[in-house]
């Protein structure tokens, strides 16, 4: 039986690049302004079938990248959704062609504030135009065109990745057969904006930020590390922090010198410091703003007169207080008002917002079965055969 098959990795993978929107045909941006040329970093796993109906686009969250599965040369850690993507896994690369791309505004190979501005020969820094989730999705659409895919079988992602999923439905409903937004929202609440603002302020308060022009000097390390520490607190839950750290000490006793006495302090410092090495501070500013600007509430997700009816699978996590279940239920409410075909499930987990990256069993099952039906219809549902 295929489900019993040992789950494997997609193995060695390579990041690929595509460049488009060369001047004078720059990408027009939602808030005005233009961007071009635009490079997108992406990876693909599995094979596109001959009628090009098995493509799945996976969208990443705030600080991730195009490397969603498998192993890049010289790296020991797999991609960020390794447990979900691969042969026999929820996004089954034996059946489906999975695409993941880095968002524009990012710093993992796609054009962003750390890219060289062709007009000056220097990094864009704050000359980079404001980009929105809609712009990120518009850029992804160019990639999907480039890959020769007319209609995506599914667009899936968690957190900001879930916002891109929703934006795909709003912007290009006729090109999406199904959508899986996980642990996400139609719009940021004031609490979420507040956290993002504190995160941005901590970057900008670091003198090393130099109004964004730090590329010749090095990252604003202190500010960016602090920003990431704040982020990590919001990704966990009371329970997961208790389980992971409790009040355990790094050393035998307190040092009374404002060092990292507790394990949780050491963890946050470690996460902050390692983040500085892999993520551009300006990208963090641009992307958190894009998330805050995102708003598909009030009927913008699915207009009353619509051209297509994508199916939805919406997942939230009970311990996620950053993107609480009520925000997923707001998505559900919009879909009910439009009589859309949708499934919503609030999963149990103690991992908080991180759950969609680490709590796999139920999420895998729901996604696999949802995709089976989307791809093949009721006739092949094997529910009664075993």
């Amino acid at each position: 039986m295929s489900q019993m098959k040992k789950k494997q990795s997609v193995g060695p993978v390579q990041t690929k690049y595509v460049t488009f929107a060369e001047p004078p045909n720059e990408l027009s941006l939602e808030l005005g302004g233009k961007l071009g040329p635009v490079t997108i970093a992406y990876e693909t796993y599995g094979e596109l079938n001959s009628d090009r109906t098995n493509a799945i686009l996976v969208c990443h969250a705030l600080s991730a990248d195009a490397h969603a599965a498998g192993y890049l040369e010289g790296e020991n850690a797999p991609g960020w959704w390794e447990d979900m993507i691969g042969p026999g896994k929820a996004f089954d690369t034996d059946k489906h062609f999975v695409v993941c791309s880095n968002v524009i505004g990012g710093c993992k190979g796609s054009t962003g504030p750390s890219s060289v501005n062709p007009a000056t020969g220097e990094p864009y820094a704050l000359d980079f135009p404001s980009v929105t989730i809609a712009d990120m999705v518009n850029a992804q659409r160019h990639l999907i065109d480039h890959l020769g895919i007319e209609k995506l079988m599914c667009v899936a992602g968690g957190s900001m990745g879930g916002m891109q999923v929703l934006q795909w439905v709003a912007s290009y409903p006729e090109r999406v057969r199904s959508a899986i937004p996980i642990a996400t929202a139609l719009k940021h609440s004031p609490q979420q904006i507040a956290f993002n603002e504190v995160v941005r302020q901590s970057v900008m308060a670091d003198p090393a930020w130099r109004d964004g022009n730090y590329y010749a000097y090095g990252q604003p390390e202190k500010g960016l590390a602090l920003a990431r520490m704040i982020g990590h607190i919001t990704f966990m839950s009371v329970q997961s922090m208790e389980e992971k750290f409790s009040r355990r000490l790094k050393n035998v006793k307190y040092d009374f010198k404002f060092g990292a006495d507790f394990e949780v302090e050491g963890y946050l410092r470690y996460k902050g410091d390692s983040f500085v090495k892999r993520f551009d501070a300006n990208s963090y500013l641009y992307i958190t703003k894009a998330i805050d600007y995102f708003d598909l509430s009030g009927g913008k997700l699915v207009p009353e007169e619509r051209k297509a009816d994508p199916r939805f699978l919406i997942i939230s996590y009970r311990s996620d207080w950053l993107y609480p279940s009520v925000q997923s239920q707001e998505i559900v409410r919009e879909l009910k008002m439009r009589r859309m075909d949708a499934t919503y499930c609030e999963l149990r987990s103690t991992y908080g917002h991180d759950a969609f990256l680490v709590e796999m069993d139920e999420q895998q099952k729901l996604v696999r079965h949802f995709l089976d039906k989307t791809f093949q219809g009721y006739e092949v549902v094997k529910a009664y055969d075993s």
Binding site: K336, M337, R339, D341, A342, C345, H369, D372, K373
Partner: protein, 219 residues
């Protein structure tokens, strides 16, 4: 597997629903009924269910289901979103029965209500002669772990419909294996009613019109 192998109440509801109908099942359980309605009758189905495991089973069958309680499950639906709203073995588990039925009739043209008959002969016997809270095949729970919060008989429900001016389009009285012909309030374990608030003819014509529409699209 076909719908013939379903349990009796599911079979009756399955037969009562026209092909191509839009169906909302409040408390759809593991989705057995909805699965066959969707697969063999091309019904456009949606479930609402509270139990996690049941939801996984529904998704496994390819069904769409919302993780919600039925009390708050209907608010956002526009009027007459469905041809049928099913309340099978779930009505007696909610306190605000009147509200749920009114809401069901708002979002659905017809409502199918199935419930255990508390006036079944064995239940009467248990209460009257043994002095114990009734337990029957349709009321399998002990008094302290029953999900039922409303105890009603077939006669009670008919009164309710009269009072609330609900039209009973069809009534089915179920024994353990087959339908009961006589003295249902005494001899039926369960009952299934098909109700409407609006005129039946109007509801039927809407379904027929949409079926034609569906045919036209599939041609």
């Amino acid at each position: 597997m076909t719908a013939d192998t379903l349990r009796l109440d599911y079979r009756i509801i399955y037969d009562a629903v026209e092909p191509g109908a839009r169906v909302l099942d409040l408390g759809c359980g593991n989705g057995d009924l909805l699965y066959f309605l969707a697969r063999d009758k091309q019904a456009k189905v949606q479930g609402i269910e509270l139990n996690d495991e049941a939801i996984y089973q529904c998704v496994r069958k390819g069904l769409s289901v919302f993780n919600s309680d039925i009390k708050s499950g209907l608010v956002e639906y526009p009027d007459q979103s469905f041809d049928y709203v099913i309340l099978n073995q779930s009505m007696q588990e909610v306190t605000n029965v009147d509200f749920i039925i009114q809401e069901s009739l708002r979002v659905g043209r017809k409502v199918i209500v199935g419930f255990p008959n508390f006036a079944y002969i064995a239940a009467r016997f248990m209460l009257s002669f043994r002095g114990k809270a009734p337990m029957t095949k349709a009321l399998p729970h002990l008094w302290y772990d029953t999900p039922n919060v409303r105890c009603l008989s077939i006669a009670d429900f008919k009164n309710f419909c009269r009072e609330k001016k609900l039209r009973i389009l069809k009534a089915y009285y179920l024994g353990s294996e087959k339908l009961v012909e006589f003295w249902p309030n005494l001899l039926a374990l369960n009952a299934i009613f098909v109700l409407t608030g609006a005129g039946e003819e109007e509801a039927a014509s809407h379904i027929a019109a949409r079926r034609l529409d569906m045919k036209a699209k599939s041609c």
